[in-house]
Amino acid sequence: MTFLIDDLLIRPFVGFLEIIHDMAIRELYNLEDIQDELKENRLLFELGERSQEEYELRKSQLEAQLQEAQEAHEHLRGRARVIE
């Protein structure tokens, strides 16, 4: 909550809803979480707990998610530059 209030004080012209939206995007597209799951997928495959097919399928899903997340973050960064 402190973050929200600070952000509103620093940038009062940014709408409250806009900040909530940005935070939701950051939460939804957490790059580190996706990268961690990619590594865990690989680990489970190496341990023999995931078949080649399961591994490949999950890998391609996560890579697509990562790509989407990177684009969302790019979008947010672009908007931050506009606001500055």
């Binding site: 961690d36 590594k39 865990e40 680990l43 190496e46 707990e49």
Partner: protein, 209 residues
Amino acid sequence: MNETKWYVYGIVEAEPLRMDVSGVAGAEEVTAVEHQQIAALVSEIETMNPDRSEANVRAHNQVLKQAMDQGCDGTVVPMQFGMVFETKNTIENVLRHGRRAFVQALEQTEGMIELGVKIIAHSDASVDRAAIVASVEDELDRSSETVAQNRMFSDRLLINRSYLVERSNREALDAGIDRLRDRHEDVTIQYSGPWPPYNFVDIQIGASQ
């Protein structure tokens, strides 16, 4: 338009070098771009953004391992995957401006290799993490120069560490791993390497690429 770009794998002490490789983005050759006794290991490629595929990342690592084995006095300061420069001149500028940091990193890792240790709990097991950590430190720390704690990317991971080890001390670490396997049969131990010292050099290249 397919202009040549320059992919950099790592930095070594300068010496004439040419290696046949299966490199990043289909590169088949690695050469050295030298500047004042240090050199960048480079391949000519056709893109500024090589695909971050498993094959390319493996190729990057394989080239560095080959360089460690074939020459370069066994010491290579690795670059992160994806460092591409527009011109050879830019690489020479990077070597010029980063010379002090590169030389320091080469000195700090001279004759050293990196070895990786992951310890993973079995899927249905309850394991005493503190006891595992204590015995890992007991068995491995004394054979290594430095230890890096890596990201715990899975709940199943009990240990994810990298060890910087003198080449001549490799067998001592191997023996420590064997003893750990005997002491802890309820976990899986992944022991990997030798790697270039990825986790022990931290040089940020800020030059315009």
